[in-house]
């Protein structure tokens, strides 16, 4: 049935009229998302862009099944999301590595639940550790790694289980500019080799335009989808980031984001 949905060209993720209200035990409830509707196609790379606090992580948590959908509905391959599962791999904004496990053990953890034989698991874990450039740090604990290295461990861990879709919450946020560039093209290469659905949260307009097929721009809190921009660029061109089409698109998206960032700022200054 899942094959049927993916094969038929219908959307893989359907989000319809979703609100999300946080009710902290102390303090006022916070409306994080309001009437969000969005569809993500199979094997599409979608970037979610929006000012801080607009509900990007919240939306990812809802798709991941970590938070219950209270209003509206979210379908994954045609079925409502019932909870977390390894079919939807997530890279958390703050890495969420197990601090008591080494880099290797962190990557192996997910694989252990999947059931390939031990030797194969070890090989697979190593290949993804190599991929993110952490060779030699297999036996380090997260507390011994830099922020960027933790982030790369988290990415390796999620990629290793080869989920159907990838949810990534600012996965390159803690990286320096060079490493970020490397990881971006690495991710694009992986994605091109075996395209899968990616929902990629970022603050960085260039990154969104460079990586994504479509960029969904969100409004300031309560978060809504303001516009979706189609990116029509030839990603196989190594110099795409220098093309005028790229620069124009970045400019256009910047304009959309800036309005919302200013609104978010005003909301903070005059409550």
């Amino acid at each position: 049935m899942q094959q049927h949905n993916a094969g038929s060209g219908g959307p893989q993720i359907v989000i319809e009229g979703v609100n999300h209200l946080y009710r902290p035990p102390a303090g006022r409830p916070v409306l994080a998302l309001e009437d969000v509707s969005l569809q993500v196609r199979p094997r599409e790379f979608l970037a979610l862009l929006g000012p801080s606090g607009c509900g990007k992580s919240t939306l990812l948590y809802l798709i991941g099944g970590f938070l219950p959908t209270e209003t509206g509905r979210i379908l994954f391959d045609g079925a409502p999301i019932a909870g977390p599962g390894p079919d939807r791999g997530i890279v958390f904004q703050h890495f969420a590595l197990f601090p008591w496990k080494t880099v290797r053990a962190n990557v192996l953890y997910a694989l252990e639940k999947m059931g390939p034989p031990r030797e194969q698991r070890a090989k697979r874990a190593q290949s993804f550790i190599d991929l993110v450039g952490l060779t030699g740090f297999e036996d380090s604990y997260p507390s011994q790694l830099s922020g960027g290295m933790k982030q790369r461990t988290a990415i390796a861990r999620t990629l290793a289980i080869d989920p159907k879709i990838l949810l990534m919450d600012e996965p390159f946020g803690a990286l320096d500019a060079q490493t970020r560039h490397l990881m971006q093209s690495e991710l694009l290469a992986i994605w091109r080799k075996s395209p899968k659905t990616v929902v990629f949260v970022t603050h960085d307009v260039q990154e969104a335009v460079y990586l994504a097929d479509r960029v969904a721009v969100m409004t300031a809190r309560p978060g809504r989808i303001k516009t979706i921009v189609d990116i029509r660029l030839d990603k196989s061109d190594p110099n795409v980031a220098k093309s005028s089409a790229f620069i124009d698109t970045v400019d256009q998206v910047w304009g959309l984001v800036r309005d919302e960032a200013i609104k978010a700022q005003e909301a903070r200054l005059s409550p």
Binding site: G65, P84, I90, A96, W100, A110, K113, Y141
Partner: protein, 246 residues
């Protein structure tokens, strides 16, 4: 070498003790010279008295503390994770925690008599709550994202509890266990002093009543050393278990 310097004050104390007793500054009845105490210790070691009573104490303490750790940890984590368990047991733990546990000595004797059973029960009851509280606070503080992370990688809710909540609770739980370890010594020796027919505490009381003070001091020092050694060994273990925190 540095170890020697560190424990130098103890050497001075020992020398002072010997001198004070020898020079008659303190009556030898109140404080027999350390050399006599050492001889008495060797004597008891040879006769097997020390080992037999030590083994009996060790069994009681080990069994009671072991039970306290297993049950206490399970209870604390269950309270942190299931609200109904917390609602049912939270107030109970709160009320019982500050109670002086030695008050339980006559109660456990009433229930289980003079033998091992009453000591094990006493230590179990007395040492459980620090472990429970440590496990509870530690488990409470588990990072939401880690819990989610494990679930998204295919761990069942119960598996996640073992894989994430237990290790998250470990640092505070291990601190609770350290408190429990010290408490176990206190409770064991007090209970054996008051009502027992064997054990190191019993031996102290028996030798004291007999007026063989050098032997009594030998057992007191033995207990003190065991307490110190247990704590050091535990700290080493704790350090190894928490290596990842550095």
């Amino acid at each position: 070498m540095s170890l020697l310097i560190r424990y130098l004050p103890l050497v001075f104390l020992a020398a002072g003790w010997e001198l004070a007793a020898r020079l008659g500054l303190i009556s030898q009845l109140a404080l027999p010279p350390l050399s006599h105490v050492a001889l008495a210790w060797l004597e008891m070691l040879k006769s097997g008295e020390l080992l037999a009573n030590g083994a009996s104490s060790l069994w009681r303490g080990g069994a009671g503390l072991g039970l306290a750790i297993v049950v206490g940890a399970a209870l604390g984590i269950a309270m942190a994770w299931w609200q109904p368990v917390n609602a049912a047991l939270g107030p109970l733990v709160e009320v019982l925690y500050p109670m002086p546990k030695s008050a339980l000595i006559p109660v456990t004797v009433l229930w289980l008599g003079f033998g091992d059973g009453s000591k094990i029960l006493l230590i179990f009851l007395g040492c459980m709550l620090p472990v429970t509280l440590g496990a509870f606070n530690g488990a409470r503080g588990s990072d939401q994202a880690l819990v989610w992370s494990a679930r998204s990688m295919g761990a069942s809710p119960l598996r996640m509890l073992w894989d994430v909540v237990v290790p998250s609770a470990l640092p505070e739980m291990l601190n609770g266990i350290r408190t429990a370890l010290a408490l176990a010594f206190i409770l064991l020796v007090s209970a054996e002093l008051i009502v027992a027919r064997e054990g190191l505490g019993y031996l102290i009381g028996f030798l004291g009543a007999n007026g063989t003070y050098d032997a009594m001091f030998a057992v007191v020092l033995t207990v003190a050393f065991l307490g110190f050694a247990a704590d050091r060994a535990y700290q080493t273990l704790m350090h190894r278990l928490l290596r990842w925190r550095e």
